[in-house]
Amino acid sequence: MLSQSVRVTTAAESRYRIALPNSRGRKTLVLALGKSALTALAELQELEWNNTQFGFYASGELQLYQAQQTLRVTFNDLLDKVDVVVLLITADSDVDAIVSIGHACSERRVMTSGFILVQTDRDEATLNNVLACTRKVTVSLVADADTDTLIESLRAVRA
């Protein structure tokens, strides 16, 4: 007699997997920290996304870019409405802002991941300092020279 595992793992049997959606859309906030990250953020905004918002955080103030408008919102209020926060960071990002956002996300159990956009013309020590601060507050961290990997990661998590 065939074992259950043999019977259910065939390509033919795979056709009977339930095809209904198995997840509700997660709301993602991509937050640029540092002016150098704004260009990359603008590139991302040009693409099509599912449930993704884009914002810029500096000097304790959050600007949310929505439907051609720039809204000023309170970060903690926004945090109640998102599932994932992706920090888009550059060497000129404010480390205090990274830490405070990271802690706010952690307190509310919002998944926080970091993407460091490495610019070769920037001071390595400064970048390392930013990296070290980001490492402490993000569950997942990637450093890369362009936004391709970030786009791929966002697509993979259905952002």
Binding site: L2, S3, Q4, S5, V6, V8, T9, T10, A11, E13, S14, R17, N22, S23, V84, V86, M111, S113, N128, L131, A132, R135, K136, T138, V139, S140, L141, V142, A143, D144, D148, T149, E152, S153, R155, A156, V157, R158
Partner: protein
């Protein structure tokens, strides 16, 4: 998630496919050297990248890997007679050398030149370490032989095995990149398996089930760093190298040997999970070797006379619900290798990645797929040589280490991540 067309691109490796062409630019493990143990020994059927071949070792010790079927009437040369410098088809006596050249057609006069018009597709088969490697790509682009450390250390320092896995290669390999499942699926083995137990790192692994991840690209792949909390504001890092297209290493534990894998497509629905253990600067002990041969660590027990795991889908992987309930094993399946294969095979032959829900901590998998896709497309559209082909790209090591919280693993461990002859591995 992955779009359907990208999933197909990454999972199809037959002749003429983009990923198939990519794989054909690398030396890949084809067989264990023990499968062709002596000159003129029985030939062995080999299927790789959806091509059926026959491997043999001729009277002079030369290895051959060629089309399995005789050019005359399509008979399998597995039935062949391996004699006097070639493999002879038992049907009408046609004979081939290790390069696939037909060297004798008894029914035709020798002077007719008929033989010279017959040639089977053949690929080089070379022995490096205890593995026979093949290169199935364009002859003029054949790279130098592989230099993975496990294969070039002295024989007494290394051990390799392979097991048949009934799934596409990619879902198997993704398990090798994904370090976070260790705290769950393999948790029952960390303190009991003879090739894992006793390491300080196991305590960090078991105490912190929510690792944070950092992924760094390098010339030929990725370093996937999983960090867990250690004492005194330090992190315990487990760093997994992935070398394109399908080589992964497991971060070491204490002074145990380093483990790793190759994930080689047999066809689109089956693969070979190759497993190796080696120690960079000492011989494996008799106890270690016995444990490996007995299927401990990342190896497995076999159905006698085969490379099919003893616990496989035909016997529901010898599932033990009582062991699961009592926590002796996390999933109820015994052994690290079979814990992995049982779950990866349960996905079906080729997982439908349009339905998966990845999270940010899956970045290692996401980035590996990205690099594979880009390399396959660059090769297909621009004939661009993929990364990881050259031997210098093979000289990496996995690492486990405790670092101060402010240190980046890729800079702090830059030297530790390189294979260095005679230098001990960095391990906690």
């Amino acid at each position: 998630m992955l779009r359907k067309e990208v999933n197909e691109l990454l999972t199809q490796t037959g002749p003429g496919t983009a990923m198939g062409d990519l794989f054909r630019r690398y030396w890949i493990p084809a067989m264990l050297a023990e499968e062709l143990p002596e000159d003129d020994c029985p030939p062995v059927r080999v299927k790789l990248l959806s091509e059926r071949m026959i491997a043999f070792r001729d009277s002079d010790g030369r290895y051959g890997l060629m089309d399995e079927f005789c050019a005359h009437r399509g008979v399998s040369l597995w039935f062949g007679r391996n004699e006097e410098g070639g493999l002879r088809c038992p049907y009408h006596g046609w004979k081939y050398d290790v390069e696939g050249n037909c060297v004798d057609v008894p029914s035709e006069p020798a002077a007719s030149g008929f033989c010279e018009k017959i040639k089977l597709q053949a690929y080089p088969l070379i022995k490096v370490g205890d593995i026979l490697w093949t290169y199935m790509g364009p002859k003029d682009l054949q790279p130098p032989p592989p230099e993975f450390e496990f294969a070039i250390v002295p024989a007494e320092q290394t051990f390799s095995s392979k097991r048949f896995q009934e799934s596409n290669w990619l879902q198997a390999m993704e398990g090798g990149i994904d370090s976070s499942h260790v705290s769950f699926l393999h948790s029952g083995n960390l303190n009991t398996d003879p090739l894992f137990k006793g390491a300080k790192g196991n305590q960090y692994n078991l105490a912190d089930k929510m690792p944070f991840f950092e992924v760094a690209k390098h010339t030929s792949g990725l370093f996937v760093g999983a960090r867990r909390n250690a004492e005194n504001d330090q992190y315990y890092w487990r760093i997994t190298p992935w070398i394109m297209p399908c080589f992964t290493m497991v971060p070491p534990r204490g002074d145990h040997p380093i483990h790793g894998h190759f994930w080689i497509p047999i066809d689109d629905e089956n693969c070979w999970a190759w497993s190796f253990d080696y120690h960079p600067n000492r011989a494996l002990t008799a106890t270690e070797r016995e444990a490996m041969e007995a299927g401990k660590g990342i190896h497995c027990e076999y159905v006698p006379g085969t490379y099919i795991p003893k616990a496989n889908k035909t016997n529901d992987y010898l599932m033990d619900r009582q062991a699961q309930k009592e926590g002796r094993t996390y999933s109820g399946v015994e052994g690290i290798a079979i814990q992995d294969s049982s779950l990866q095979e349960s996905m079906g032959p080729i997982i439908d990645r349009t339905r998966e829900n990845l999270v940010s901590t899956d970045n290692g998998i996401i980035m590996a797929r990205q690099m594979l896709r880009k390399a396959a497309i660059a090769l297909r559209d621009k004939d661009q040589q993929p990364p990881g082909v050259q031997p210098e790209h093979h000289r990496v090591r996995s690492v486990s280490v405790v670092l101060p919280a402010d240190q980046a693993f890729e800079t702090a461990c830059e030297e530790d991540l390189k294979a260095r002859e005679g230098v001990p591995h960095t391990s906690v």
